[in-house]
């Protein structure tokens, strides 16, 4: 019984990985080197995969910089976070989750996996359109038509265990599952120590604070 897990090396995907493991799946993590500024997360993904002693960890390399349009792949400055902001931020990477899920679907078909775990979150989600529950529902529908597995009615289902959790609940779930949160990174800047001021750092710190745990990773300030 296999499950593909989208593993970025960040907090959410690592907690998601712990959920798939707890559910008894043989997990096959998939990670992406897409020209992201914070490529350091790939080393974290590798460390998390090693922690769970997976048999196979798939790394997809792709030059999403050729598409452009994001502070995470272009030479646009990553802004300091603003928790009140309502619009889609410059760190949004056009169609990224759609692209990632599409690869995961292809891998699920080849590996004969029945689940794809993705740590999208509709609560503390930074305003990305492709983290919304409606997006996930629509992807499930296209997945049923996109593959040979779909034709043969061996449905591959998306699992989004973090969908309706707050960041604090995600941290608490990870702690309960013994997820290796000390091996994760969340900072968009990609430095050795987290910046503590970007959107992603702010959300993470708030999550740990509200959950009542100390964040085990290092911050600059």
């Amino acid at each position: 019984m296999k499950a593909i897990v989208l593993l970025s090396g960040g907090l959410d995907s690592t907690v998601c990985m712990s959920v798939a493991q707890q559910a008894g799946y043989e997990t096959v993590p998939i990670s992406f080197d897409y020209g992201q500024r914070h490529f350091r997360e790939l080393a974290c993904a590798r460390a998390v995969a090693d922690f769970y002693r997976v048999k196979k960890h798939v790394l997809i390399e792709t030059n999403m910089r050729a598409i452009g349009g994001s502070a995470l792949t272009d030479d646009i400055e990553v802004p300091a976070g603003d928790e009140q902001r309502q619009d889609v931020p410059v760190t949004y990477v056009p169609a990224r989750n759609l692209i990632f899920l599409s690869y995961a679907l292809g891998l699920a078909e080849v590996e004969k996996a029945e689940k794809i775990y993705i740590g999208v979150n509709a609560m503390d989600y930074s305003g990305y359109p492709d983290c919304r529950p409606e997006f996930i529902q629509k992807f499930q529908q296209v997945a049923d038509y996109a593959t040979k597995a779909g034709i043969e009615e061996k449905k591959i289902s998306l699992e989004t265990p973090l969908q309706y959790l707050s960041k604090a609940q995600i941290v608490a779930l990870g702690m309960k599952n013994g997820a290796p949160l000390h091996l994760t990174t969340s900072c968009y800047q990609g430095g050795e120590e987290a910046c503590g001021v970007c959107d992603s750092c702010l959300l993470r710190l708030k999550g740990f604070r509200e959950a009542g745990f100390a964040d085990p990773i290092k911050y600059k300030k």
Copy 2:
């Protein structure tokens, strides 16, 4: 008024490109180096893009071999064609069109294009699940939710002008539009001359024959 065109360098995508050009769009072709056996098609895609003097041609490089599961990317032999076959052939690349369309959607968003042209075909389609009209319909739905453009109601629409055409009709349309069919390749083997025996070559030859035109490319036999 811009349109993204998925351009493989094959017959169908080149005819599709000619349709987008005829419709008056400034076209931005996107091509993929995905570890395909027939990478020669990329040179053809470049030649077709040059023929149309496009301002920008995006090449996405990605190691789809890491996913495996196809004769087009793995070291599995490409079989001789069988026009009567009903099942999904080994040349099927898991989730390929879904992956390609996802990139095209991201590019459309960045380029502010209103259309994505893809030369899928439901008639002479080699049995690939991701060429079916149902798949295209479902992708349109996920596209509306996956992007910032979707949130802002600047809908990006898929155009599939070849959907219900026979190969002969595709050839005839290409000839009518003055598409550079002499610059295209269709063979899965990827040799300098087309093999003339794989699925793709058989379909192409049948199309030219039925349309009453000579195929301008070279064949081994």
